[in-house]
Point group: C2
Chain length 371, copies 2
Amino acid sequence: MPDNQTHQEAPSIGVVRESGADERRVALVPRAVASLIAKGLDVVVESGAGAEALMGDDLYLAAGATIGDAWSADIVLKVAPPTDTEIARLKAGSTLIGFLAPRNTENKIAALQNAGIVGYAVEAIPRISRAQVMDALSSQANVAGYKSVILAASLSTRFFPMLTTAAGTVKPASVLVLGVGVAGLQALATAKRLGGRATGYDVRPEVADQVRSVGAQWLDVGIDAAGDGGYARELTAEERAQQQTALETAISTFDVVITTALVPGRPAPRLVTAAAVHGMKPGSVVIDMAGETGGNCEVTVPGETVVINGVTIASPLNLPSTMPEHASELYSKNLTALLELLVRDGRLDPDYSDDVVALSCVTRDSVSNRI
Amino acid sequence: MPDNQTHQEAPSIGVVRESGADERRVALVPRAVASLIAKGLDVVVESGAGAEALMGDDLYLAAGATIGDAWSADIVLKVAPPTDTEIARLKAGSTLIGFLAPRNTENKIAALQNAGIVGYAVEAIPRISRAQVMDALSSQANVAGYKSVILAASLSTRFFPMLTTAAGTVKPASVLVLGVGVAGLQALATAKRLGGRATGYDVRPEVADQVRSVGAQWLDVGIDAAGDGGYARELTAEERAQQQTALETAISTFDVVITTALVPGRPAPRLVTAAAVHGMKPGSVVIDMAGETGGNCEVTVPGETVVINGVTIASPLNLPSTMPEHASELYSKNLTALLELLVRDGRLDPDYSDDVVALSCVTRDSVSNRI
């Protein structure tokens, strides 16, 4: 049985080239390759896997990898969810680790199960202290939150910092961040760094202290909707109306609004209405980071940048990919840490009694059949 | 004589619409219009003059301006140098204030003289304390210096700030600014704000203290080439060789290089050789702000962004225009201050015994004839 064979000897690790046009990240950077090789694992890298992250095959070779058919490795590491074509290239019984979009109704998890692939979704890693080092959602949200502010500053007709010049003083930009998870907190911190006045809003009052800890103001509209797993629950109709009124008033006073609000498995909540955009001063900017699930802003066109009454509304879909070097570096560390739970004593030997392993394995049914 | 007439009554001020495709600034913002009107002047604004700066005709009307033929005003305010077509629209004997590129061999100053226009070039305002409030070169360089860092952060594959996350620590970006005038100093300050490690270099050792005052390091290569008017003189062949060797070594260690070195009336000095670019790590970024005079980097394509061996070299030509609101606001204050020297007791009555007036008037020959 090929399955048993892979359990007897050191598994090979494959690092494949991403096929998405906008995906510049790579699952494992050369430095991480070197650390796996030092542990006695073989690493096969698809030619050009790191090219878009500006890490050439030569760097992978220097780290000890071979350049070759990474898709038929025992454990394949990837960033974006696989396409059907990509699943067909994986060998039966192999393991795939990456973003698998388990909460997305159109995911490929059933296809992986049918192909006999064991899939670990980084999104399904529980957000507990011990697993923070593997938390790819957080590491990539850090990148996205930082870059959202850089993008806002690029698009703004105004300075972020207060500027005192011989020709007069320019007021600092006021920045409102709606939804304060990892991305929102990093956006607040970055806006503050750059000299802006930052304000955070969330329906989970417990994040107010985190907002204040980065030097930002907390916008309180009197709603408490903390939900499971650190996310918010959906609001009631009454709460939504209360929130909408409060936010419409608040938004009109800000130069920049950055939205990052997500409700797991549901369309993104609409926090910025068309009326709120209409109330903003021309030259203001909205960065909607929830475009992939429809957007937090009513006039968002996911993936596009539109200008309405002089207000720019940008909805970038994959901000981490725009900083491929550091995003890949952090993601590498996440995957390397997860691999340590799966490869024990040099063999692929996942311990399914460990919650981190059990919960991140989203093809568990097929795994159960095999155990 | 029409000339005498304009001296007898309050001159009309015209704010025209810029014709350059990439020029989003406007010479006078509505707030500045209101201040001139409070002084009893008439202001005529060309329809759409502020549109690209997101300041609609309605705002100018609300400030007390009329929308109409701004080109036939007594004093026309502009941003970019006029085209021949635009000069033809000015009335004989009128005054034009704006960037007139007096040091550019292809400027329109002779054309203005031939048309009987009195031109004041903001570039020719002496850089003395009293005239700082009119110093448009400085106000716009502040915008450009800030935006150069935002652009670098947009293009970089890396973070600027140090980031300490569960998945490890990311080193801060190292930023080298070559040429520390107003733009360079603002670039250093902005890079520092954003969390980068900033280093400044200039051939004028006296700016070292300014560099250190914004928390940046000073790169000393042992050259002293301070010149007139706060600018540097051209280096000798020997100094150039010394500088090139020192910079090639230094540049390879930086994530971001921003160049702002100008020598008045001469092509921009070549500070970043092709070899230096070749020595940089893939993913690094060069922002060449001297593209208009040929660039400080040997591989710069003015106005373009090119990638060579994974290093991005961007040469934006008009960064202030990308922040039209604040750039226009500061420029407005510069022009308003200069106007105060030209319009006295409600009449156009320039005092040519004032150095600021005399030196900024670049069509002085024709003026002398008229006085």
